[in-house]
Assembly symmetry: C2
Homo-oligomer: 402 residues x 2
Amino acid sequence: MKKQKVHREMNFSRRGRALVGQEMFHLLDRAQIIEREGRHVYHLELGEPKPYPPGRVINRTIISLLNSEVGYSPSRGVSSLREKLAAYCAKTAGREILMDHIVISPANMLIYQILDLLCEGTDTVSVFTPGFPTYIAATKYIGAKLHHVPLVMGSGFNLTRNSIDRALSVNPKLLIVNSGNNPTGAVYDESVLRYLLDQAIKKDCWVLSDETYSKLSFQKPYFSLLGSQYERCIVLSSFSKIFCVPGYRIGYAVADSRVVEKIGLSSSTLYSCLPVFVQEGIAEGIPIIDEFTDNRKRYYRKLRDECMKILSRSSNLVCVKPESGFYLLIDIRKLKIDDRDFSTTLLNKYSTAVTPGTSFGCKGFIRASICGDTVDVKQGLRQLVLFANSFHKNTRKGIRKI
Amino acid sequence: MKKQKVHREMNFSRRGRALVGQEMFHLLDRAQIIEREGRHVYHLELGEPKPYPPGRVINRTIISLLNSEVGYSPSRGVSSLREKLAAYCAKTAGREILMDHIVISPANMLIYQILDLLCEGTDTVSVFTPGFPTYIAATKYIGAKLHHVPLVMGSGFNLTRNSIDRALSVNPKLLIVNSGNNPTGAVYDESVLRYLLDQAIKKDCWVLSDETYSKLSFQKPYFSLLGSQYERCIVLSSFSKIFCVPGYRIGYAVADSRVVEKIGLSSSTLYSCLPVFVQEGIAEGIPIIDEFTDNRKRYYRKLRDECMKILSRSSNLVCVKPESGFYLLIDIRKLKIDDRDFSTTLLNKYSTAVTPGTSFGCKGFIRASICGDTVDVKQGLRQLVLFANSFHKNTRKGIRKI
């Protein structure tokens, strides 16, 4: 069959044209090109924990494969996982949570599925920034209106009653909150989260509480919205960070059974179901979640302190100490350079990949993920300091050309 | 936190309300409830091949897990798989196909992603019926207009020039064609498919060629649209059926690099990426695709003949002999009963799960999948015959009440 000698435009749909993907993955692609050229790259772009997953998760996955459990599974997830998870969540929540309230799907997918299930073009979604890029990308992709409520660096990017009022003032259909924040690391106070819930209930507004990093709060007691029985509150989490298995692509939502049913239908329509063997592997890990994450938490806390020390070697970099997780959100505004240009040059000239703050709705910042190989992470941060300090002489003369 | 004593409606979005999922999965759910009650169910509802996957696929997956390959992967798929697949497809196509033309994603997801990338509310999608339910469900979900072009049972549900003309007469944005058809088993002639492509090119219409069952054509030489270099032609396939690993959730599309890039962005936005270990497992299997599927083909062909013999025991059932795959589309119109009611009663009273034809856009038919456990499949078909023959006495008196 011969090619017709016409150059055809790709007449994509509006949603097709609006697709931007996740900046972290663009950076990963670029980093991998550099690596294929034979250069070492320090990876601080993805929240990809160094792979020390619990043996029992991996082993159970393998057993499942050896048993040829390679068929379809129920769209809402395998029962063994949903049951164990319901019991585990009920303990955290201090209330009855049943299998019918649990749905399994990749956490990133769940953000999209929930947005799609609830919102359309005429609806508004309120997000606090800095915020996880998928909230922004998925809202844009769906075509709903996005209402950014910036949190203030001076107060450690903490959630305040005032910011909640502003978020709800536009009568959003959905309010997204992310305590154990990515990228700031802030863990929100119980009183403020209770206020958020009360106000949302008053307005009949849906709440999506992304609690992916709830197990990694270093010191502050973590307040989960799992305890709420508000029908329009959905709690989301991911096993990627809990068990250091981002490649398993398994997360879950806890919600009203009517929401769970709809998400199951969405999964069935979109991708049918998830592999049985990865779900069985994760199910095997449920009893050790607390022990395993306590361990990781101590490790990340120590690492955070070491990393902050490295960053302090450049007065051009400012970083609020994170209270959870494994990200450092670094203020580079003193350098008077676009954060995307900064990230590109840092990768090209200093072989270090970070994510520009613009992806998180905060220009003038970059996010460094410190959960990868520790030696690499520290060296990457040293490279970052080197680059930031190279601006020193020039910054007084205005914006530096690179 | 106390529950507010208000019963809240779930005010879902239009797309949320329109979600229906896949009928096969509803049936699977119902069948599993019956099984939990202790009754044996004959599973003829899902195209889930009996799990005899190639050892090298499973073993390589396990090795990948043992090597802790549990991190993120590129959104378009891992390079090793894309490269091997490009070389394999190039051989089939007789033209250059590069890694940039290959994108990895679950095949069901790809149908949704492609539809979403190309179509919106004002666009029309033409599909031939009987057709795979996801074409219909995903088009409805996206909100595009659906143009059904029924194929005729008398000619073995074959594609004709006339049906192609009718499909294109409404100026669709996208035309979906599925040779090695699910559910009819029809394999379309080269000349007709060339005509389809020529006419689509004349109209600048996008073509999605679902070639999931291309390796399972029993006798007829399979004509693939992979050879075409029409920029708006996308070829789709799945490893679920090739390697009997539906639970791996891995498929692929071959398309213009601009489409591949967009699908990668869509995957990145929706679910980030797929597990590395399942992709590495599949990559290991590429060299044995032909040998493995030749074997399966012989097996299914023999099984088809045996199954047709069982069905012939009821004059109430009519079935066109499939030329490929592992489905039997059975005409139950003589029974004058709704195919969904028939399927429900067959499951409840005869412990046999099949899929109603309504899901495939053909009322009055049912689809029996014969790729599961052979003993079960045959017993399930015997149950079906039993049920169909129970109508015998009553059919003359008109519609039977059950």
